[in-house]
Amino acid sequence: MATATIEHTAEAEIRGLIKDWAKAAGTFDIDRVMEAYTPDILAFDAIAKLQFKGAKAYREHWQACAAMCPGPMIFEVHNLAIEAGDDVAFGHYLVRCGTIGEDGKEQAGYMRATVCCRRTSGQWKIAHEHFSAPFDPESSKALLGLEP
């Protein structure tokens, strides 16, 4: 019972962390995005590079992404599942992300996201995250139009 309660609390805390982070990510509030990460975060993002090591490199990548998408963004978390242990936890979800054009038309697709968290000094932070779209092995093109 006690263990179940702790896990339940941890799960709620991580759900809150991801909710706040997603809100910040959707508006490119990069300072708040970065608050969710450990200083040694290692990120596998959906674009550009195999990996981003550490908060400084990842912040620069976020800034480059914000510059690419000046307009309003769509950033929705779907099917979030969380597994929380005592000080280590992880979760995965599908993220619908894209842009809204001046004519109000949405250009968005689903990608996959994995978040891995550590608790230090009582606080959960994201130590690793992984975003991706699958690709077609024949054409080597990323598949951004897949529906869950």
């Binding site: 242990g85 994995t114 991706s132």
Partner: protein, 147 residues
């Protein structure tokens, strides 16, 4: 102290599991590759679909049979974070080999594994494998990157 010992031991158990898994992948051993998967594993694979649940031995066998044996599989920068009952690790991985038609292939990709200790043994409950794509308008999968 006791906690430190058990943490080291959990990390070592996961390292051993990954090393063993790599061996079975190189040997194209379907049962071996699927052995550490939890029954309800959620997989985000390199190829579609977006998401799948549960192992697919027939699909894996079909994919293995497109390669001449054995497969090259090398792991770099394996980083493990282990609690007492939940853990994760990530690495950069290189898959290489020759297809049945004689074409040589090499691919560097990213792997994240998430674990739960079930009945005293670590099981993979989530696996995410991918390459990034280029935002140059082509949406090409970045299958040519090297660490």
């Amino acid at each position: 102290m006791t906690e430190n010992i058990s943490k080291a031991s959990d990390e070592e158990q996961i390292r051993a599991l990954i090393n063993e898994w790599a061996k079975t992948l190189r040997a194209k051993d379907v049962d071996g590759v699927l052995a550490p998967f939890a029954a309800d594993i959620v997989i985000f694979d390199l190829a579609p679909p977006l998401r799948s649940t549960g192992a697919d031995p027939n699909g894996l066998q079909a994919w293995f049979s497109t390669w001449e044996s054995p497969l090259g599989y090398e792991i770099r920068d394996l980083n493990i974070t282990a609690g007492s009952d939940a853990a994760f690790c990530h690495c950069l991985s290189r898959l290489s080999g020759t297809k049945g038609n004689g074409e040589k292939h090499e691919l560097w990709f990213r792997q994240t594994f998430c674990f739960r200790k079930i009945g005293g043994a670590w099981k993979i409950v989530h696996q995410h494998e991918s390459v990034p794509f280029y935002m140059d308008g082509s949406y090409r999968a970045a299958v040519d990157l090297k660490p």
